[in-house]
């Protein structure tokens, strides 16, 4: 967070700071929206693109579903045939029964194959599509501009990469069943009407009642389902916060109070889920009563017609079977409805991320940079994060190959923005930034990254061994290269002392190393990457003096033979630079060597003579005084 451009970390407009999550680039509203339409054409359309590559297999699966449904439909028909042709007078026939039984076996053999084909194909395709979707989202995040990434919490992105993709999985898993259910529903209607349309219509009239009941039920049930899901996310949020802040909780003896608060939330969650359960279960006796009604109709009307000789007995039996199965798809479609709602909401959230435009992309004719000379040139650069609020104003300077320039100035003066522009994390509003003579917008981002190295204020280490962390993405680097780099920055000794040396696994975020040690490892990483230009954001947190000295030595080694732009906080670093650029409010105020600047008696001299450990330490009020008196 500390490396975030100041203008974003604490927006200047005080009104903005008050809106929680105002900085978040993904809408809050979207996160909260759990229930919406069960069908969103746009989401389906986008989703279809991910299904398209699998169309052949899906077509096979669809064939499987159709075959499966057909077998489901034909089983009662086979039974009907057996009863009417082989088992009731006048046609009692044992041989025919054997044949019909064979036909039955044939049907269920088809059913076996169809079930296997559709379920495994769909199940596997679903998994594959979800991984594809997750990857697409992940790749998109790798390409998005830093301004988006800065503004968005990792936790939110992770929720979209995990929970939302998970919700879609649930949806895909049940989609086949849904398609099967719908097919079955239509199939049953068709078969009932063709067997005997009068009895069929009579039986189906029961469904109308069900539809009316559901129309009344749905809005009420929806509300209770939504509440249940909201309480779940509240409970999970409380759990997460307590896990992350456990030390403070224990220290401040908040265990009991927090438990009580959590219990209230958990109980609310329990209650709302029980309420939702009541709503979903109340449909059960209704559906069962309607099934009973439909069967009673078949028995009374159908039975009487069998008695009267106008209906075959087998048809009546077949009706009984169909009526029994008829409500199953309706029941599962009800469940499917809420799964679909959830999936649509998740789909919207996923595609919202994928729709964030990639602002910074390679030009079609972008040049691939080859080893450049390391010069940097800012030509009348104006830049900002928020429209109308420039952070850099008409900044012009050059850095000669091999030169080390220290950027100095109070917080918010634009130092971080300058380094971010050299690496093209953002595009300038006006002017140009050139690296090795090339406008950074004319070269490929990848090749730019291989010429411009960066060491961040807060060293970030990945899970893995120390070796992996130093080598990082320079896959060509050998073990000797890694060790040489570690030696150069003075990290070799402490690494060797670790239980497994370079093969020691780092804990979460390098927790088993001290801050200073992590910094040295990140220096070594930059040496292995060996870029002609190095941007370095010095750590502000005061480090132990021993480590401090080591870091100063390492810094010199790191910058040797490279052009360096250092956001310097420590006087030792500032004094060691070839040139100092003093920034204030996005403008270059002074530039020169330490000695020259002191002689000039300007802002630098004033800040320096305040005798602070770093310019960042100086309280706002004093800076204001200093800048005002130096401008007068």
């Amino acid at each position: 967070m500390a490396i975030m451009p100041q203008s974003l970390a604490t927006p200047v407009d005080p009104g903005r700071t008050q809106t929680p999550g105002a900085a978040g680039a993904l809408s809050d509203e979207m996160d909260e929206r759990i229930f919406g339409a069960a069908f969103d054409g746009k989401v389906i359309q986008r989703f279809a693109k991910f299904l398209w590559p699998h169309r052949r297999r899906l077509l096979v699966a669809l064939g499987g579903v159709v075959a499966f449904t057909a077998t489901q439909l034909s089983i009662p028909l086979v039974i009907r045939t057996a009863i009417d042709r082989a088992l009731t007078p006048p046609g009692v026939d044992g041989d025919l029964l054997d044949l019909i039984t064979l036909a039955f076996l044939g049907v269920i053999a088809v059913n076996l194959v169809a079930t296997y084909v559709q379920e495994t194909i769909v199940g596997k395709t679903a998994e594959r599509v979800l991984f594809d979707l997750r990857r697409a989202m992940y790749v998109h995040l790798q390409n998005l501009s830093m301004s988006f990434m800065d503004k968005t919490e990792v936790g939110r992105l992770m929720a979209r990469l995990q929970s939302d993709v998970g919700a879609l999985q649930e949806f895909l898993d049940t989609t086949v069943t849904t398609i099967g259910d719908i097919l079955l529903l239509f199939g049953i209607v068709a078969v009932l009407l063709s067997l005997d349309w009068k009895l069929g219509l009579l039986t189906l009239s029961v469904v109308l009642v069900l539809l009316i009941v559901r129309m009344i039920w749905l809005p009420m049930a929806k509300k209770s389902f939504m509440h249940a899901r909201q309480t779940s996310s509240i409970v999970n949020g409380a759990l997460a916060e307590n896990i992350n802040g456990v030390r403070t909780v224990q220290e401040m003896l908040r265990e009991r109070a927090n438990f009580e608060r959590f219990e209230v939330k958990a109980r609310d969650n329990l209650r709302s889920h029980l309420r939702a359960a009541k709503f979903s279960q109340v449909m059960v006796p209704i559906v069962d009563t309607l099934t009973g009604t439909a069967m009673a109709i078949v028995v009374v009307v159908g039975g009487n017609r069998v008695l009267g000789g106008s209906l075959d007995l087998g048809v009546m039996v077949a009706f009984v079977f169909y009526v029994q199965r008829f409500f199953d798809p309706i029941r599962s479609l009800t469940i499917q409805y809420s799964v679909m709602q959830r999936a649509m909401a998740s789909g919207q959230r996923i595609f919202e991320v994928m729709d964030v435009p990639v602002n910074i992309r390679d030009k079609p004719d972008a040049v691939t940079l080859d080893r450049i000379d390391g010069s940097i040139e800012f030509n009348h650069v104006t830049f900002g994060y928020l429209p109308g609020q420039p952070v850099l104003n008409d900044v012009t300077f050059t850095v000669a190959p091999g030169e080390t320039v220290a950027l100095v100035g109070p917080t918010g003066s634009g130092k971080t923005s300058i380094t971010a522009l050299i690496h093209r994390f953002y595009d300038v509003w006006e002017g140009t930034v050139r690296v090795g003579g090339h406008d950074v917008r004319d070269v490929t981002q990848d090749s730019l990254g291989h010429q411009v190295g960066m060491v961040l204020q807060e060293p970030f280490l990945f899970t893995g061994t120390i070796f992996d962390n130093i080598r990082f993405c320079t896959s060509g680097a050998t073990r000797d290269d890694v060790i040489a780099a570690a030696r150069a920055v003075g990290a070799h000794d402490f690494i060797e002392r670790l239980p497994k040396g370079y093969d020691t696994m780092l804990e979460q975020r390098g927790g088993n190393l001290s801050l200073g040690q992590r910094q040295l490892v990140s220096f070594a990483r930059a040496i292995v990457a060996d870029t002609p230009i190095l941007l370095l954001d010095e750590a502000t947190a005061s480090i132990d003096s021993y480590t401090e000295r080591q870091i100063q030595i390492a810094l010199k080694r790191l910058l040797a033979g490279r052009s360096g732009v250092v956001i310097a906080h420590r006087l030792a670093t500032i004094r060691g630079a070839d040139r100092i650029i003093v920034l204030n409010r996005g403008r270059i105020v002074e530039t020169g060597t330490h000695r020259e600047l002191l002689e000039r008696r300007g802002l630098y001299h004033r800040l320096y003579s305040m005798n602070y450990a770093s310019f960042d330490d100086i309280p706002e009020a004093l800076i204001k005084d200093a800048t005002e008196s130096s401008s007068t």
Binding site: T17, Q18, P20, G24, A82, L87, P89, V92, L97, I108, L112, Y116, T120, K124, E127, Y138, L141, M149, G155, M158, N236, L239, E241, N242, I243, G245, T248, Q250, E251, M252, L270, H273, L274, V284, I286, D288, T289, T293, V299, V300, G303, L307, V317, V320, R325, D446, S447, L456, F460, F462, C473, S514, T540, A541, D544, S545, T547, R549, A572, I618
Partner: protein, 622 residues
């Protein structure tokens, strides 16, 4: 739900923790047994519902026979047949309705038990994590704890209402229905149930396999999660090194690992489901064939065959669900084990039996030959060795030393985040292991280098340790910590939301908030563990001046690498490799010309501790 609440008066006796040592499934079953009323009603309703459901084939069979009575040419009376049909229809309607009502009761009770168990586990889990010592939290990835708290508890809950009660339904339908069928016709009954052994065999086979794949899938997914999380968290590094391809490679490797396992799970699950369904249909075919021949021979009626077939149709839904039951049982087995693993853990640091509240007199803290190693006696190399000191009211102890020397460990030992492996720590003569944790932590306060802010207003974050603190006390605390002016300048002042979804505070501001938090509690012994590293030296001096009144009659420990922070201490310990190598007050240590002196010179040389240079000019600060 209410019986659950009544029992929860003693969190220690939660059912979740009673049946240690049993398998996960056994424990879940035993937990459900706690809801004996719900379970009783649920099972009873299941039995009744099954009974009504089993009436359906019987009446349908009877109806078929009545409808056929004229065809059968037994000279039956059509009116009697019509009456019988009407009667059967009425019974079917009644049976359907009652079956529905009792199924509703059964389903609701099942879900209620599942949700209640989820609730119990959630509370027990929350409580356990709160009580686990920091040594545990240091070791375990917080993402993993969240997965257990969310997905795994959910897995257990779904097992209860999905698998457990559905199994009961299936067993009742099969045994009771099977009995009825076999007493109607033994051969047909046996044929109708002939699929059961196949289903049981395949079910248990796939259950074992699924359990393994579930576990492996979960592990691989958590690797994938970690990779994505680190990538997004360290996106600047990734961009800075143009490491996009490298990172995508890592993602793809982990992703394809996970997908292989996901595929295997799909394969096992659905191939078994297909076989199970096939065996069921085969049984149906056998019933049709054998029953048909029996009709032709005249030993049974068409109605009886219809009865058997409808009975089998009723079984279709539960049989289809067997695959689901097996899958969710396998998942519950893995998830349950992961949840119970946490619930069964004993916090390394807890009240001894018979621990008494600390009797605070003056507030004198003593370390007596304290040794400490993170892995316990036999574990890693010692972090602290033979540390002894005493600090009493109104006195200040300074601790300084290179990183990794064990300074912060001392701060962690005082509130018993860890216990020493040798020697003892006393407060007013009482070993801190003999007093209750609550009373100990009330008496001591530690301000750390890094602070956690809860998503809440500034004032509730400052008053985190004392819910009753009024605004005046809160303001006093923030004034001492030099934070009041900043907060008061915010448009919403103390109501401003901070934390993950609120206003972002700078490192120094967070540290000052942390100081305010501890100061508000006015502990008898207060430790500042590098708590001003990100606060500039001048503000730090102001904080110290402000705290002077407050700490006048308290024991203070200052751990810092900034010498100006502790040069005015009554005693300074210089620690290296876990041992005290120099001790004394500032001037004496300088005169000694040892490590402290070396360090002092170093800081003067770098000029990065203006407090040192300024100390002459501002003698009272500190």
């Amino acid at each position: 739900m209410d019986d659950a609440q009544a029992r929860r008066a003693h969190p220690a006796e939660e059912p979740a923790q009673i049946f240690k040592g049993f398998g996960a499934i056994t424990r879940i079953l035993r937990m459900s047994a706690y809801y004996r009323w719900r379970l009783g009603i649920g099972v009873l309703a299941t039995v009744i519902a099954a009974n009504f459901q089993l009436l359906i084939p019987r009446y349908l069979g009877a109806a078929v026979d009545h409808a056929q009575s004229l065809l059968a040419a037994t000279g039956a009376n059509p009116d009697a047949a019509r009456d019988a049909l009407g009667w059967a229809a009425l019974m079917l309607l009644g049976a359907g309705m009652l079956r529905g009502v009792f199924t509703m009761i059964h389903n609701y009770q099942g879900e209620a038990i599942g949700q209640s168990i989820g609730y119990e586990l959630r509370l027990a889990y929350f409580e356990k994590l709160q009580r686990m010592s920091l040594a545990y939290h240091d070791r375990v990835h917080s993402g993993d704890l969240m997965t257990r708290g969310m997905l795994d508890i959910e897995g257990v809950r779904r097992f209860v209402d999905g698998a457990m009660l559905r199994t009961i339904v299936l067993v009742i339908l099969l045994t009771y229905g099977g009995y009825r069928m076999m007493s109607t016709d033994l051969v047909l009954g046996l044929l109708a149930l002939s699929f059961v052994p196949v289903v049981m065999w395949r079910g248990s086979m796939s259950s074992l396999l699924l359990r393994r794949t579930w576990r492996a899938l979960q592990e691989r997914m958590s690797v994938l999660t970690r990779i994505m999380e680190e990538n997004l968290g360290g996106i600047r590094v990734v961009r800075a090194f143009a490491a996009r391809d490298h990172e995508l490679g890592k993602f793809d490797a982990a992703s394809s690992d996970a997908i292989t396992m996901a595929m295997r799970r799909v394969q096992i699950r659905y191939s078994n489901a297909a076989v199970m369904t096939f065996s069921y249909y085969t049984a149906m075919g056998l019933v049709l064939w054998a029953g048909g021949h029996k009709i032709i021979q005249g030993t049974i009626t068409v109605g009886t065959l219809a009865e058997f077939l409808v009975f089998m149709a009723i079984l279709q839904q539960p049989v289809r669900q067997i695959g689901m039951i097996v899958n969710s049982t396998a998942r519950a087995f893995v998830s349950g084990a992961r949840v119970f693993e946490v619930l069964d853990m004993e916090p390394a640091v807890r009240d001894r039996p018979g621990a008494r509240p600390l009797r605070l007199a003056d507030g004198v803290l003593r370390f007596e030959h304290v040794d400490f190693a993170y892995g316990g006696d036999s574990g890693d190399s010692p972090v602290l060795h033979d540390i002894s000191f005493e600090v009493g009211p109104g006195r200040v102890l300074g601790i300084v030393g290179p990183p990794g020397s064990g300074k912060s460990t001392i701060a962690h030992l005082i509130p018993r985040f860890y216990d020493p492996t040798g020697g003892r720590i006393t407060i007013d003569g009482q070993d801190i292991r003999d007093v209750t944790l609550d009373s100990l932590r009330e008496a001591v306060g530690v301000v750390h280098q890094d602070t956690f802010l809860f998503t809440a207003s500034v004032d509730s974050n400052v008053a985190y340790g004392d819910l009753d603190a009024d605004r005046l006390r809160i303001v006093n605390a923030t004034e001492s910590a030099q934070l009041h002016d900043y907060i008061a300048g915010l448009p919403r002042g103390y109501e401003t939301l901070v934390g993950e979804r609120g206003l972002t505070l700078s490192g120094g501001q967070r540290q000052r908030l942390s100081i305010a938090r501890s100061v508000l509690l006015t502990p008898a012994i207060i430790t500042f563990d590098d708590s001003t590293a990100s606060v500039d030296a001048v503000t730090e001096q102001r904080i110290r001046t402000a705290l002077k009144d407050l700490t006048r009659d308290r024991a203070t420990i200052i751990i810092s690498h900034r010498l100006s922070s502790l040069m005015h201490a009554d005693e300074i310990l210089f620690i290296e490799n876990g041992r005290i190598i120099e001790r004394g007050f500032h001037d004496a240590l300088l005169a000694l010309g040892g490590r402290y002196r070396e360090r002092y010179d170093l800081q003067m040389e770098f000029g990065d501790d203006p407090g040192l240079g300024a100390s002459a000019a501002r003698p009272a600060a500190g």
